[in-house]
Symmetry: C2
Subunit: 168 residues, 2 copies
């Protein structure tokens, strides 16, 4: 199974009169995210499920992935909100007897969320601990292959880490 950790695009700056969870993508953020999504679609990437943080800037990013044809099943996951717990997400989505009908070795999942969480999740999946040494830019993507048998934490492989500029 492959997991693509995708950070939301460029969003409005923090302001006193806008709650953090309601900050929207800027025009530039939308355009850049659309270009990234188009490029991924050209590479024949197709997600079986697109899971997103419920925060507006992430949800809008996920909607762009759907609109571009990268998938058609969108679900919110509170685990993908800032400070979300990867173990809780794994229990929901990857452990036997939960969602097993949804997941096969060929499944591709997109997880749309935030930094530093997504970089930390990548480190936990690939190395089993967080050093905070992965740099994931806005609208950037991390690609991770999860093993079929072993526990994903510390046993997954990273095959992709790219900011938008290498894709555009």
């Amino acid at each position: 199974m492959e997991i693509y950790l995708i950070r939301h695009g460029i969003a409005e700056e923090q302001r006193e009169d806008v709650k953090d969870e309601e900050r929207k993508l800027t025009k530039e953020g939308k355009q850049k995210t659309e270009k990234v999504a188009q490029r991924l679609a050209e590479l024949d990437l197709k997600f079986d499920f697109i899971l997103t943080s419920p925060l507006v800037r992430a949800y809008q990013t996920a909607e762009i992935l759907i609109k571009t044809g990268l998938g058609d099943k969108l679900e919110e996951s509170t685990h993908l909100a800032p400070n979300g717990d990867i173990s809780a997400w794994i229990a929901d989505w990857l452990e036997p007897n939960t969602q097993t009908s949804k997941i096969s070795p060929e499944t591709k999942l997109a997880l749309v969320g935030h930094e530093p969480d997504l970089g930390n999740w990548a480190e936990l999946l690939v190395w089993g601990e967080v050093k905070g040494n992965i740099v994931l830019k806005k609208a950037g993507t991390i690609g991770i292959k999860v093993p079929e048998q072993a526990t994903p934490l510390g046993n997954s492989q990273m095959f992709l880490l790219t900011p938008p500029k290498y894709l555009l």
Copy 2:
């Protein structure tokens, strides 16, 4: 300082009558490596030094980087041959009083070599230990930012990991 770990392109299969270190890039390997190099050049990447394993398939890859305008200083490093020692390379290139006139915070180095060595070097730089969980395809690139002060092992940051297909 940024280090780009670049794996050699597709090479001839192993044969009894050709020494491993003399295996050349195939026609497809040259073409794909040229395209990757052109794409990196379009992104305004320019290396201050291109260091390469002395093995023919790596040296030919480094020559393609030079020919594409990605740099003009090419040096062989035996540390980049298979099973090379990153600590010896760091002592040669990054420690104070060695090559200091060559290295500044803005320096960009390309290191052309082999798997699994380059993936292992990336893990050592970023996490300080090897798990063998980075997948680096032929003609693929890993981008790493080395800290100005701290020792590079375990303190560097990864900002790029891409197989050729995302660049072409």
